[in-house]
């Protein structure tokens, strides 16, 4: 135990944890959306995120900003951010929709036990990560530094830099948009209807397959956002970069209450912070263990997660 170290660095560990947690939260939304509607854990979602991370440097290089480029001026940074976001969101959403069309939809009319979907999910995950691994010869791919970290302000003696602010701000912004979409639009109402009662939704004229495809698309867009923020923060990716992050994001979704959009946000941020505290308290190599121990402990006391299931079948 390095209690003093933890106390001395409390705020810097917290800020770092929130930044990582924001990325978990965005990926967690993909798990939670699909689970809320289909009661299915889309284990291929980690690969949806991973493919998004590759799309970012590929898109930047394509418009002339390779590894060693130094974008200057706010205008070009904003433009590159937009290009990266669009590329990652497109790549991730397309991957997610492909997984639904190829791995899940053909099974649905046969109404198989949910274990079958779990197996095709894992299969899709392995196929995607191995396919990317072959394409890039299992080498890491780096991206240019879009933003040089620079202190913006200090809080309790801890400096907060622009990258951290951007990551947390962008993640929360995307989640608010998604929340509005689900709760305020007609298509969002269709999503909630299918989640709460699929048969009744069909009787209202909701095309279930279309809603499901849209759910995968939305989850993919959020994962694409996470992928861009990851590349801005970390700067490099690998074909297996999705695995651990995906498992953590899934844990975050469960922690907050799977099926619950706000739960994904809470679970993601909390998991990021707590694992970072654990790393500070016990040592860096304990970071992953802390995350999962916390998950297990919380589930022992609140089996439906902190906020409970809500998009899904939870009764008000």
């Amino acid at each position: 135990m390095q209690f003093e170290y933890w106390l001395d660095n409390f705020w810097s560990l917290t800020v770092g944890g929130l930044t990582q947690g924001a990325i978990y939260a965005l990926v967690a939304l993909g798990y939670t959306l699909v689970y809320g509607v289909l009661r299915l854990i889309n284990f291929a979602h980690s690969e949806v995120f991973m493919i998004g991370t590759f799309a970012v440097p590929i898109a930047w290089t394509a418009i002339g900003y390779g590894r060693d480029a130094h974008p200057s001026g706010l205008g070009s940074v904003v433009l590159l951010f937009a290009v990266g976001l669009i590329a990652a969101a497109l790549a991730s959403a397309a991957t997610a929709m492909l997984v639904e069309r190829v791995a899940y939809r053909p099974l649905r009319p046969k109404n198989p036990p949910s274990l079958i979907f779990l197996i095709t999910a894992i299969g899709a995950s392995v196929v995607l990560s191995e396919a990317v691994g072959l394409l890039v010869k299992r080498k890491p791919m780096g991206a240019m530094t879009l933003i040089q970290p620079k202190e913006v302000f200090t809080i309790f003696g801890t400096s907060v830099d622009n990258v951290q602010l951007l990551v947390v701000g962008a993640a929360i912004g995307m989640m608010l948009l998604l929340d509005q979409f689900i709760n305020r639009t007609r298509a969002g109402r269709g999503v909630r209807a299918v989640a709460q009662n699929p048969d009744a939704a069909a009787l209202m004229g909701v095309n279930r397959d279309r809603i499901i495809l849209m759910i995968f698309m939305l989850g993919g867009i959020m994962a694409g956002g996470a992928a861009l923020l990851y590349m801005i923060k970390v700067g490099s990716t690998k074909y297996d970069a999705g695995f651990l992050l995906g498992v953590k994001a899934f844990a975050a979704a469960v922690l907050g209450g799977i099926g619950n959009l706000r739960g994904a946000l809470l679970g993601g941020l909390l998991l990021g912070v707590v694992e970072n505290w654990g790393a500070g308290l016990i040592g860096d190599k304990w970071i992953d263990a802390t995350a999962f121990v916390v998950l297990v402990v919380i589930l022992m006391f609140r089996p439906t997660g902190l906020l409970g299931e809500s998009l899904g079948r939870a009764r008000a």
Partner: protein, 236 residues
């Protein structure tokens, strides 16, 4: 005929639930489908609305073959169902539930009109428009399910057990409203275990037994039929 069902069979796995039934519903009618638990009444309804695909036979609606059409397309054609067990969206408010009923419609003026009509038929729903569906009583949920089905402005309204679980006084009320809806021009196919009510309100009726139609006639005829009396009306 608005709805023609011809020789319809349906299987759940290896179990055959419907054995070649034929039913017709004419424009403007109230037709009742009565029978015991497990006779296949709800299965027939699910086949008409498209929640279950039949194994053979034909379903025609307003002259179109809809036997294999997707459920959501049939809603656009004008078939709307209030399902067994009500099937309301528990996490949505009364107003949101009613909004789901007109999911496929875009005529704002007409929707507003129909909302007023539903609130006219069920003043209770108007009082509770902001209440979450899952917290309402069984009778209120039944009203909500029927109101929601009406929001599609259907040509054919399918009502599956509208009296289930309701107090006798409320049953009277619901059936009076069903007649009112019919008089306003909506054709109704009604599935009921409460044969007394169903037969006295319906123009025609079919008796379903283990997946087969065993009797058909006007409501008044079946009400006095000795076999029907014996099996479904609880009078010796």
């Amino acid at each position: 005929m608005l709805l023609e069902i011809e020789n319809l069979s349906l299987h759940y796995g290896r179990i055959q639930a419907l054995h070649g039934i034929s039913i017709e519903v004419g424009e403007g009618e109230i037709v009742a489908l009565i029978g015991a638990n497990g006779a296949g009444k709800s299965t027939t309804m699910r086949a008409i609305s498209g929640l279950r695909m039949p194994s053979s036979g034909k379903i025609r609606f307003a002259g179109h073959d809809i036997t294999r059409e997707r459920a959501d397309r049939r809603v656009v054609r004008g078939i709307s169902q209030s399902p067994e067990g009500r099937g309301i969206f528990p996490g949505m408010t009364v107003l949101e539930n009613l909004d789901m009923g007109c999911y496929t419609r875009k005529d704002r003026a007409g929707i507003k009109e129909d909302l007023e009509r539903v609130f006219g038929l069920f003043p209770r729903l108007s009082e509770r428009r902001k209440q979450v569906g899952g917290t309402m009583s069984g009778g209120e949920q039944q009203m909500l399910a029927i109101g929601r089905a009406l929001m599609a402005r259907p040509k054919l309204l399918l009502l599956d057990e509208p009296s289930m679980g309701l107090a006798p006084l409320l049953i009277q009320q619901i059936f009076t409203i069903i007649e009112e809806i019919n008089q306003q021009g909506t054709t109704i196919l009604l599935v009921e275990q409460n044969a007394q009510q169903a037969l006295s309100r319906a123009h025609r009726a079919y008796v379903l037994e283990t997946g087969q139609i065993v009797k058909t006639g006007t409501g008044a005829e079946l009400l006095v039929d000795p076999k029907v009396k014996d099996a479904y009306l609880g009078v010796a």
